[in-house]
Amino acid sequence: MTDWKDEVEEIVFEGKIAVPYTWTVGSTLSKWYGELRDNAKIWGNRCPSCAKVFVPPKIKCNDCYKDLNDWVMLPGTGTVETYTVVHYEEPKLHPRKAPFVYGVIKMDGADTGMVHLIDEVEPEKVKVGMRVEAVLAEEREGNIMDIKYFRPIA
């Protein structure tokens, strides 16, 4: 519009939103994490109507909107459906330094996949269709990192 805008010092304000959260895990996932933490077991749950098995367990079936009270113990093995080797660094987010591998693992005994880390293999050797198994953390706290990662089945 006029000159003053060109003369004004351009200020960039460095701000934050820094608010910690305490999330409620809820009935379905408390049971899942309880089993994972205390009994070192990975469970799924099954729809009474369409028999689909979900892992991580779901609150309701996608298709049928039915409660899923029928729990199924899973062997913790599966097949890599897709993966990516991450090469960029994001220290505030990433659980480790790049390069590392994320995968979607189609779990044996379930109809869905789990997203997790794939390790104990050179990143470039990960392949779609590779058979993998869950490696649990020694110290488990009741969250997704109780599964340390998936590794190839020897």
């Binding site: 351009e10 200020i11 820094a18 608010v19």
Partner: protein, 167 residues
């Protein structure tokens, strides 16, 4: 309606699992907000010249603090700068005694603090700031206040004014 189970008090699932919570730990999202010409000038004038400047609407003549480009009511762009006083009238206040998390840091806010709404002399809108008086019985709407400037170097923020004091 009475058929639904009230689960407000329970601590375990029906099959005995402990209901958990999950702590995020410190979470921080960083922003670099450009302040644009109006807010930049406002803060720079406070920092460098210890004065408040607002903008005047060419249609309704109201003087806005903090300044901004548009008069919402007239939907007109504003371009005329007006200096307003460093004294003004107390229009509202809250003495905050209950600590809460400061979203700027993730730590606790320092309490007590008094958040105020002050209409600076010559302005038609109120500015939000602090008052050093934390006893609400000593504050009343309509009281005169004066800005107490921070020592140099003053920050490029509203904290260029330390607080307002009762005259």
């Amino acid at each position: 309606m009475g058929i639904y189970k009230d689960k407000r008090k329970i601590t375990h699932t029906p099959d005995g699992y402990e209901l958990m919570t999950l702590e995020s730990g410190p979470v921080e999202y960083d922003f670099n907000w450009h302040l644009g010409a109006y807010w930049s000038k406002f803060l720079a004038e406070m920092r460098d010249n210890k004065r408040f400047v607002g903008v005047k609407c060419p249609a309704c003549d109201r003087v806005f603090i903090p300044p901004r480009e548009v008069c919402g009511r007239c939907y007109t762009a504003m371009d005329e700068w007006v200096e307003v006083g460093e004294e003004g009238e107390l229009q509202g206040f809250t003495v905050v005694r209950f600590p809460y998390i400061d979203p700027n840091t993730g730590g606790l806010m320092q309490v007590p603090y008094t958040g105020i709404w002050v209409t600076l002399d010559g302005a038609d809108t109120r500015m939000m700031h602090f008052c050093d008086e934390h006893d609400e019985s000593k504050l009343d709407v309509g009281m005169r206040l004066r800005a107490v400037w921070e020592d140099e170097p003053r920050p490029t923020s509203i904290h260029a004014v330390r607080y307002f004091e009762v005259i």
